[in-house]
C-alpha cells in the first residue's frame, strides 16, 4: 500500500582507485503519499544511484530513508521499473508479472489470476503466454510496469523507463501511466533527464545538479491534468525549469562555434 517517502540528509560515496568519490551530497526530500514526483538530472548525475539506495539494494553512506516515517526493510516493498526492464526471458509475460507474488508466497492459482487481470487491463490480454523476446518495446514496458504494480509496493520508482522508446510510444505510455496513477493513488518517484516529460507528468520536479548530486530547486507544477504540451502554462513551467536545469547549454554552443570556425578555416586553406 502506498506510503510516503522521506530522504534525510542522504550521502553516498564510493571508494575508487583514485580515492573516495562522492556521488550524492546531502539530499533531503519528502514525497507525500500518493504524489507523483520527478527527479530531473542530466546523465551521470547520480539518479540511478539514488534509486538503488531507495530500493534497499545499497545503503547510503550516511542519512536515512523512511517509509511513513519509519526505517523499515525496503527490499520487496519498494518497486522499481528501470530502462533496462530486466524481464526474465525464460518466463512468459504472465509468469513475469506473477514473479513478485510468487516471492510473497501467494498460491499459484491466485497469483496467475491477479497477473492476468493486470495484463488485461494493460491491453495485453492476447499476449499472456508470449515471451518477452516476442513482444514489442512498448508491450515489454507495460509488462515491466505491471510486474511492479501487481505487488502493490509502498513506493514505485521509475528510472528513465521510457528513454529507449520512440516518441509515439513514449507519449502514449506517459498518458497511460497518468491514468493508472489517478486510479491507483500510488506514490511515484519518476526519474528522467527530459524537461518536457517532467513537466507533463509531475506534481513537482526536483532538479538535481551534476555529480555530486544535490537538489538545485524543487519546482511545483500546478497545471491541471490532462495537460497539453502546447498550452502557455506548460511553456511557462518549462521555461522556469530550463532556467535551473539548462544552464550549461551556452557552453556547448560556444564549443560548437569554435569547431565550426575551425572547419571553415580548414576548408579555406584547402581550396
Amino acid at each position: 500500500m502506498a506510503k510516503d517517502l522521506t530522504l534525510e540528509q542522504i550521502h553516498k560515496c564510493y571508494a575508487t582507485d583514485s580515492g573516495k568519490r562522492i556521488i550524492i551530497d546531502d539530499i533531503s526530500l519528502h514525497v507525500p503519499k500518493g504524489s507523483f514526483v520527478t527527479i530531473l538530472g542530466s546523465n551521470g548525475s547520480g539518479k540511478s544511484t539514488l534509486m538503488r539506495l531507495i530500493t534497499g539494494q545499497e545503503e547510503p553512506t550516511s542519512g536515512s530513508i523512511l517509509l511513513d516515517g519509519q526505517n523499515i526493510p525496503r527490499l520487496g516493498h519498494v518497486g522499481l521499473v528501470s530502462q533496462e526492464l530486466n524481464l526474465f526471458p525464460w518466463r512468459t509475460a504472465l509468469e513475469n508479472v506473477a514473479f513478485g507474488l510468487e516471492m510473497q508466497d501467494i498460491p499459484s492459482q491466485e497469483r496467475l489470476k491477479l497477473a492476468k487481470v493486470y495484463l488485461e487491463a494493460f491491453g495485453l490480454g492476447a499476449f499472456l503466454n508470449q515471451y518477452p523476446s516476442q513482444l514489442s518495446g512498448g508491450m515489454r514496458q507495460k509488462v515491466a510496469i505491471s510486474r511492479t504494480l501487481v505487488t502493490a509496493p509502498d513506493i514505485i520508482l521509475m528510472d528513465e523507463p521510457f528513454s529507449a522508446l520512440d516518441f509515439q510510444t513514449r507519449t502514449g505510455l506517459q498518458c497511460f501511466l497518468l491514468q493508472l496513477w489517478a486510479k491507483l493513488k500510488e506514490t511515484i518517484v519518476f526519474v528522467t533527464h527530459e524537461v518536457e516529460e517532467a513537466v507533463f507528468l509531475s506534481d513537482f520536479i526536483v532538479v538535481i545538479s551534476t555529480i555530486p548530486a544535490k537538489i538545485k530547486k524543487i519546482i511545483p507544477v500546478s497545471i491541471p491534468r490532462p495537460r497539453s504540451r502546447n498550452s502557455p502554462d506548460f511553456a511557462k513551467v518549462k521555461a522556469e525549469v530550463f532556467t535551473v536545469y539548462g544552464a550549461t547549454s551556452c557552453l556547448g554552443n560556444q564549443e560548437l562555434k569554435e569547431a565550426l570556425d575551425f572547419l571553415q578555416r580548414h576548408k579555406a586553406k584547402n581550396v
Binding site: T55, G56, Q57, L75, G76, H77, V78, G79, L80, S82, E84, N86, F88, P89, W90, R91, T92, F99, G100, E102, M103, Q104, Y131, P132, S133, Q134, R147, T148, T151
Partner: protein, 251 residues
C-alpha cells in the same frame, strides 16, 4: 530435414553404385548393402555368435549413461560453485587449466592401473570426456547471469534460495545445456576407445568392432561404425529436443 534425407540418400546410392561397379574395392570399404546385411547378421546371429547387436547397444549405452551421469552430477555443482565465487574460481582455475587439455584417452593407462580392465575403467574415461565441457559451461553460465536480472528479483523480494532456483538456475540453463550437449558428444566419441581398454563380459559396440577386426570381417567393422554413427545422431537430436523444451523463450 527433407533436404538432408535427400542428399544422404543420393550419397548412399552413388556409394552403392561405385561399390557395385568395383570403383570402391569391397575389400577396403564395405558397400551400404553389405553394411545393412552386416547389421542384420549381428542382430540375428550375433558377434561373436549369441552376442546380439541390441545387447551390445544396451551395454554401450549403459556405459555412456554411467560416465555421463557421473560427470553431470559432479560437474554441475562444482561449476555452480566456480561460477558463483571468484575465490573458488581463482583457486581452482590453474588446476583446471592444466587438466583440461589432457585428452581423455591419455588417461587410459592410468585408468587401467587404478580400476583394472572392464566397466569402471571405461566409465572413468567417458566421465573425463564429458566432465570438462559441462564444468566449464556451467561455470561460465553462472558467472554471466545478468546482474540486472538478479537485482530485479531482489527488488521483487527474492531471498537467496529463490534467487538460486528462480534466477541463477534458469538464467544459466542455456549455457549448462550447451555443456551437456558438448559433453554427450565427447562421451559418445570416447566410447569406442574406452571399450578398447577391454570389457570383461564381451559386450559393447567398441568391443564388437574389435571382434570383427579379429575375424577380419570388414563388413561387420563397417556395420559397427554405422551403428555408432546412427546412435550418435539420434542422441544429438534427442538432446536438441530436450534443450528446445528447456530453453523456451531464451533462444
Amino acid at each position: 530435414m527433407r533436404k538432408a534425407l535427400f542428399s544422404f540418400g543420393l550419397l548412399l546410392g552413388l556409394w552403392q553404385l561405385a561399390s557395385s561397379l568395383g570403383i570402391i574395392n569391397e575389400l577396403r570399404f564395405a558397400s551400404p548393402l553389405a553394411i545393412l546385411r552386416g547389421i542384420i547378421e549381428i542382430e540375428e546371429i550375433g558377434l561373436p555368435p549369441d552376442y546380439y547387436l541390441h545387447t551390445h547397444i544396451y551395454y554401450s549405452m549403459k556405459l555412456v549413461a554411467s560416465g555421463f551421469g557421473l560427470a553431470l552430477i559432479s560437474a554441475i555443482p562444482l561449476g555452480v560453485l566456480i561460477g558463483a565465487s571468484s575465490k573458488v574460481r581463482a583457486f581452482l582455475r590453474p588446476v583446471l587449466e592444466f587438466l583440461r587439455p589432457i585428452p581423455p584417452l591419455a588417461w587410459i593407462p592410468i585408468a587401467m592401473l587404478w580400476f583394472g580392465i572392464g566397466f569402471p575403467s571405461a566409465c572413468f574415461i567417458i566421465f573425463l570426456g564429458a566432465f570438462f565441457p559441462i564444468l566449464l559451461d556451467t561455470a561460465h553460465g553462472v558467472e554471466n547471469v545478468p546482474k540486472g536480472l538478479v537485482d530485479s528479483a531482489k527488488i521483487l523480494g527474492a531471498k537467496p534460495k529463490e534467487l538460486w532456483l528462480k534466477v541463477y538456475l534458469p538464467a544459466s540453463l542455456p549455457s549448462i545445456v550447451t555443456g551437456l550437449r558438448l559433453g554427450m558428444g565427447i562421451a559418445w566419441m570416447t566410447l569406442v576407445a574406452a571399450e578398447f581398454t577391454g570389457v570383461q563380459d564381451g559386450y559393447g559396440l567398441g568391443y564388437m568392432i574389435m571382434t570383427a577386426r579379429d575375424l577380419q570381417r570388414l563388413d561387420l567393422i563397417c556395420a559397427g561404425m554405422a551403428v555408432i554413427g546412427i546412435i550418435g545422431i539420434l542422441l544429438e537430436r534427442l538432446l536438441q529436443l530436450i534443450s528446445h523444451f528447456l530453453l523456451r523463450g531464451q533462444e
